[in-house]
Amino acid sequence: MSNPNIQIDDEVRQMTDEEYAELLASGWTLDTSLEPIEP
């Protein structure tokens, strides 16, 4: 599966592997089966 997109100012591009690894390390998930999270 390809890495998700990142936006910086008006530019949208695919995340590098390093950027994606940092995002995953922060606890983020792309799992679309996840139920909406209560705040």
Binding site: N5, I6, W28, L34
Partner: protein
């Protein structure tokens, strides 16, 4: 000269009156489609000490919390967020104690429109950066506040949800002249 903000085309604008305008639009960032994170361009500078940021209309593939980072800093965030659902069924607080980001509201995943409004103090100065604000989204409203405790000078902010991607909406950054 007419009294601001009622200007007339081709009218001479006097500095003494324009300098009384308290807030200027620094930047509007339109969030793209299916982006995991959205970062503004350079929005904080020596032009202003304090800023109003409004984030509205951001949709999330999952809903959940909307998170903020300054620059590339992912540690040293302290703060809390209060949440309350309009049904009264759920209320409570979330906290950050040397966390990786600050919670600034919710990312909407329904047809409704979320909005977060906050004031940010001294992001560009080499001192701690604090913020406070309010929000509504995903049936929840509340307030939040916090600080990034380092003395780093920041020029950008990044938003993301705690899961999934963001699509659409805008990030408005205004600078307070005084």
């Amino acid at each position: 000269m007419a009294t601001p903000p009622n200007f007339v085309d081709a009218e001479i604008l006097y500095a003494s009156q324009l300098n009384k305008v308290g807030m200027w639009l620094v930047s509007k960032t339109t969030v793209g489609t299916a982006v995991a994170t959205a970062t503004t361009g350079t929005v904080f500078s020596s032009d202003y000490d304090n800023y109003r940021v409004i984030i509205r209309g951001v949709k999330s593939s999952l809903g959940g919390n909307l998170l903020l980072n300054f620059g590339a800093t992912v540690t040293g965030y302290y703060g809390s967020l209060y949440y309350d659902s309009y049904t009264g069924a759920t209320t409570g607080a979330l906290r950050r104690n040397n966390g990786a980001n600050l919670q600034i509201g919710t990312a909407e995943n329904s047809s409704a429109e979320q909005v977060t409004s906050m004031d940010i103090a001294n992001p560009f100065l080499a001192m701690s950066t604090s913020l406070s604000g309010t929000y509504y989204g995903n049936a929840f409203s509340g307030w939040f506040g916090g600080t990034q405790a380092s003395s780093t000078s920041f020029t950008t902010l990044t938003i993301r949800a705690d899961g999934g991607t963001l699509t659409g909406g805008s990030i408005f950054v205004y600078g307070y002249r005084y």
